[in-house]
Symmetry: C3
Subunit: 432 residues, 3 copies
């Protein structure tokens, strides 16, 4: 294929190096360690006696970002290298960028002071990008995706500041500012990058048996550690415990409804791996905003059950319509896992605050949801238009969902089937 | 295949939804958050200044339940979706049910107050089901398994209460009340569900190369986090440290004996993946009862070495006899990983208490072991009879060990080999 | 193949059992639990009020050792069982041996008192062996590797004591004493075991699509938890936080440079999985010595960027030369991931100490680096000569990189391709 199709030959490495150099310069000027001597400029930071107290929860979130999102997307039969590999690239750059973009609102004597709390938030900021990545998976180049990472995290940080500090809305588990935002941002990008040539599907846009098992590694780690995601930045003590319990129970209840609906809507009552890999997680998304509220365990479970139902139904009935009628080709179905459950979470938060389950204003909660959706749709559309510039490169339709356009790909697990690039023995590292 | 064979078409989704709705109603009536204001009704709970202090150990246990057990069972070549997927379903329902069944003995003003300690115990309760699941893996329907989950966790909770609160026996790592109980419960079920048609084996009852590697993900996570399993509910401080150290060293020693015996008994001295995947873990099972006792590091290592030996020998010589002579078809060999090492753990506990390694009564330890085995065998037999009712559905012999009876299965990793269901493109989510 | 070729038939199990028995006897004499009553004999141990405070970091390191190293090496198409299985064997024995060898320098009334701090260090000691294992992967027998484990950990413990206690050099993340040491030790062994028959490569010395994905499980867990590796034994408090932050940022920056250089040097700008699996981790190695120093975040990122560059270039240009000109056949390219980045870390430490980023002597830092390299090269050469003794067995060239010489191997994922041993139904455990 011609080099312009991939833009890997020079544009990718040059862009990656320039971005990293600029980032390092900004860090040299603005970023230092937290030394415990801050004076309340950053009210969100939970300075405790032990500065690594939150570290285990940070590592849980870290696993969700790098293993969870990375492997969840390996379900595609020929796109596993890109799924886990580009996920690593975007998240590694994104966390550096996010730490800057989020930190700029909380400077202490002109410095961003890094602590575990800020590292968790930086990981969070990358989650928006990885959600959007799911919508355009297989149809975008690494160069395009790096551009998206910069723009999306920048826009996210503005909306986050607005929601958390100006509107003072509750969103401890980020149903609105991460999940709904990331999903609708990605869907807007996908709409702008609509490919008529994929209208009738693509032979590589599907799984094989073992790729579905790799994806389950991602699913299960996301599922297990979601209580950490929703509670990591909650108020320490029993409020944090509440966030853990609500998420744990919402997810458990969600599994039952996702399995039940998957079986109900599928051929002969069989379960569909797409639903199991994704809809079982919708309970974690939907309980996010309310996670630290006194909604009681059964309230969290109800949210989980509803999330599992709408997510599974979305995969079955809504995604095909979005693709065929609205031109929104959502590779991973992020609308079903993050979009609708994120809105559900935002709505649940409005109701919960109105019912006095936590201090706050229902109107501000509603404004936060509207803001997140607005920034996502407009920001995503603009970002999509920028990503569409021919200069960044974009894979041709026939090379979509195929690692071999960006990666040296070894032979398939058994005999080469002819459709993969022949092994070039570049793996043989011991001899010239 | 006819619908009655699977019972997926309606019975599975209806049962799953009804169970979840009943559970939510029970939670609405009986379950609330721990708010730190309990008054000693629950002497087991370790209320500390930080209510999420045990959370990292909870997450280790969580990983063992969902990744460990789930992937350990993916060794079967065509049953990976069911192994990890049904494991998720049973554990997600089981932890909700277990929290109720265990909590009922420790109510505070008519309420079960959820904390991390109770979440760990709820995860523990699911372990019994997942062990039993291993015995009947590939030969039971999801409907049957949900029935087993309810019954087994209920019976487990009674025996656990008897052992811990009435007999006041030591079993911190649950060699008796989880491992031996789960194994003999599952073996009793397997005996009742004996299939003469599988007497000569089944072509799908085996592994392929990559399925064995997926299983090693489960093995290694179980192996690494077992010290958390055995110490999570130990008395905080140096007793908990003792439980960590004993388990860590028992497992390390067990690896050496399992490898040695695997090589000794196999053809040309080769290692067998079945032994490595399972017998290396027997040290964690067997040291469970004694984990928090002053048995000294070398004592823990001796227990580990013996466990590795009897577990490997069990796989090689005992399992075939159990199947052919007693009609106990134990798919994963849980008798070797959980059954015999669990009894070994119980016996070691009797000796250790008799030797004064921890306060207690050797007679009560023996009674605890007997109680666990008795509840398991009788409870398992009754549960097996209930599971055998034709109404729940059961896969025909020829469809055993095959995901395609319950799952939409994509093509195999390379060309379809004809034995799997043809791809139906249901994975193509972007187009109608 | 003849039995002498594998030495599995009797020598392996006998050696494994004898080693374990000797170890247990030594533990019976010398090892007990930490009871919190030590009197400062061990200045390194961080006795805090909670003896399991470091436990979550220990578990992160544990995951790196057993999942990280184990799965990183599964990239070879037919050597996955050995990679993850022998990794488990060596690390399980190594941690028992390391606890003795390291503990002997810190006895308290003639006893080694085990605590979480010592368990972390024991895991560290195994890392040296697993790094060296990478250099000789596929070309050595389990018996040879057990011999290497004993000798390497013993020599490591002497050098570690010299560096930490005699020279009082800084190496909190062990760039020198683990990474450089393990790499050059392994390269010296590989040189002694040079195989002319593999000069032109080997058909099994390469990956297939899914083996590269299994390897990414190892890569990503190593990448995520490296901050724990570099900070686990740092001074508690803000120094430990500094070590976390430096490592987190060095790794993130390293990803960008590794991807950029991989694309720059490869055919048509494509990414190479070997680089992504390995060079993205070089930032963790190289920032090790400086991790707890006040080098500022941008300093850590610069180290990461440089490490990613030299590691990727090493894979591309240096490894082939080392193999063809110097006879050093480095299967996993440990020189590029651990060797050069380890030296870079040592040099950075000299500079940082000279610049006053931490108390210490630049000369002692240099002596520590020289000592680590000297012990590694001489110790590795002697160990290689001992491993070369015919009595231990060594696989013939044609059986290198092939599990079937040491393992019962099931059929390949689809039809047997003839090159693997036919399935022998030994997996069918339910029937005789």
């Amino acid at each position: 294929m011609p080099a312009y199709a991939t833009n890997m030959r020079l544009k990718f490495p040059i862009l990656a190096l320039i971005l990293e150099i600029i980032t390092i310069i900004l860090y040299a000027v603005f970023v230092t360690y937290d030394d415990g001597k801050g004076h309340g400029h950053d009210a969100n930071s939970n300075h405790t006696s032990n500065p690594v107290e939150l570290y285990p929860m940070f590592q849980d979130v870290h696993v969700m970002i790098f293993i969870g999102f990375g492997f969840l997307m390996t379900f595609l039969k020929k796109y596993g290298f890109s799924s886990v590999g580009i996920n690593l690239l975007l998240a590694a750059f994104g966390l550096q960028w996010g730490l800057l973009m989020q930190g700029v609102w909380h400077m202490d004597h002109g410095k961003i002071k890094v602590d575990v709390f800020k590292m968790i938030n930086a990981d969070f900021s990358t989650a928006t990008v990885l959600i959007s990545f799911g919508a355009v998976l297989g149809k975008t180049s690494p160069v395009q995706l790096l551009i998206m990472t910069i723009l999306e995290i920048t826009i996210f940080s503005i909306n986050e500041h607005l929601v958390a500090n100006i509107l003072s809305a509750n969103d401890v588990g980020a149903s609105m500012i991460i999940h709904a935002f990331g999903a609708y941002f990605g869907l807007a990008v996908a709409r702008v990058l609509y490919r008529p040539g994929l209208r009738n599907g693509h032979e590589n846009d599907g799984s094989v048996y073992h790729s579905d098992l790799f994806a389950m590694i991602g699913t299960v780690f996301l599922w297990m550690f979601w209580p950490s995601f929703n509670s990591a930045i909650a108020e320490p003590g029993f409020v944090q415990l509440t966030a853990v319990i609500n998420t744990y129970l919402s997810l458990a209840a969600c599994v039952l409804s996702a399995y039940a609906i998957s079986s109900l809507v599928e051929h002969k009552g069989k379960l569909d791996m797409v639903h199991i890999q994704n809809a079982t997680l919708a309970g974690g998304v939907a309980v996010g905003t309310c996670a630290d509220m006194n909604i009681q365990p059964f309230g969290a479970m109800l949210i989980g059950v509803v999330a599992g139902i709408i997510s599974t139904l979305g995969f079955k009935y809504l995604s095909p319509v979005l693709a065929s009628k609205l031109g929104i080709q959502d590779t991973c179905g992020v609308h079903n896992l993050h979009g609708m459950p994120g809105i559900l979470g935002g709505l649940a938060g409005i109701v919960a605050v109105a019912l006095g389950k936590k201090d706050g204003s229902a109107a501000m909660q509603a404004a936060a949801l509207a803001s997140s959706l607005g920034f996502a749709l407009i920001g995503g559309a603009i970002t999509g238009l920028i990503m569409k510039l021919p200069v960044w490169g974009q894979p041709p339709d026939q090379n979509c969902f195929d690692d071999s356009i960006y990666w040296e790909v070894p032979e398939a697990d058994e005999e080469s089937d002819g459709s993969l690039a022949p092994a070039d023995h570049s793996k043989n590292k011991t001899e010239a």
